[in-house]
Symmetry: C2
Subunit: 190 residues, 2 copies
């Protein structure tokens, strides 16, 4: 079952069967149903989750109750609130299942143990953190761009698969326009 | 001269004199004058810079020529465009010196070599990348908050020293309001 995790790790570092078994011993698995929360704001987050299968949205709920979508994640992505996990603060974001999700999760302590005992995994987690930096910076630039059309194009360029999987209403929310405006934008392009 | 870098690294991992000498052999140093660019959009970025002394702003210039401030960095911070450095794409951001800056810089290749030959440095760079993730996520939340007062409070809470060092005009730009609006916000608080 955890072969997908192995394939994912081995895109970055190769592992022997013994090493992979050792890696697995630091993880547990959990399924979440569609509409369940993996992370809720105001709670402490104890794990980083490898999304083996599923689709989630990460969002911030402002004081007026308006939802702002930070990101989506799907098969093969890591999800958590890093600030909560590593600095033991309450989560400020929500991670919500748009489909049934199957996850493998690991505690902050176990990430540390794994990195300390297996250099390859330290390298894996370093490279994943750098990838996350790049993704987050791209999201910041996306938010700063004044033009919704540019934001939409960035999204389809960087995450073509996501645009096919996620409902248009949520894509519109990510881009920061109404569902109707997004439709008009798409019609103009045909 | 590189003792500040050592002190900075040793907040995370301790190094012997020999190890630190080995680390230093992967770095070079460069001074930049006030008003110079360390990174310019459209160029390829070859190095990550440790800012030993100075103050910079990172900004994105939109197609209308409007400047959007992503961040500030000062003594002890790392600066670069990660996407350009690690994925060999052209930089989308600018890093501009607000004061004279003294940097120690390292190439992507040398980061790789250092990580491969010294586990401690792999651990150091992993933890720095995680810190950067947290900082970037905080910036995203800051941008999504509708309220400029909240954004300003986040800034002074997370970077109290920065607010003392950076001109109010730039703080206003970071928060996303005019210099006059920021002044009115500050007057109301007294």
């Amino acid at each position: 079952m955890m072969e997908a995790l192995r394939a994912h790790i081995e895109k970055i570092v190769s592992l022997t069967d013994e090493e992979f078994e050792f890696v697995c011993s630091h993880f547990s698995s959990k399924r979440f149903s569609k509409h369940q929360y993996i992370v809720q704001d105001g709670q402490f987050v104890n794990y980083a989750y490898f999304l083996n299968e599923g689709l989630v949205k990460t969002f911030y709920l402002d004081e007026r109750g308006k939802e702002h979508i930070l990101d989506f994640a799907m098969d093969g992505d890591w999800i958590t609130d890093n600030q909560s996990l590593y600095q033991h603060k309450k989560a400020e974001i929500n991670i919500y299942c748009l489909k049934n999700c199957e996850t493998f999760y690991i505690s902050c302590e176990n990430i540390g143990k794994l990195c300390a005992s297996l250099d390859k995994m330290q390298g894996y987690f370093r490279k994943k953190a750098v990838e996350e930096n790049i993704r987050l910076q791209r999201r910041i630039l996306c938010l700063l761009k004044n033009n919704a059309t540019d934001r939409y194009h960035d999204l389809i360029k960087n995450y073509p698969e996501l645009v096919r999987k996620v409902p248009k209403t949520l894509i519109a929310s990510y881009v920061g326009v109404s569902r109707e405006t997004l439709s008009r934008m798409l019609v103009k392009e045909v």
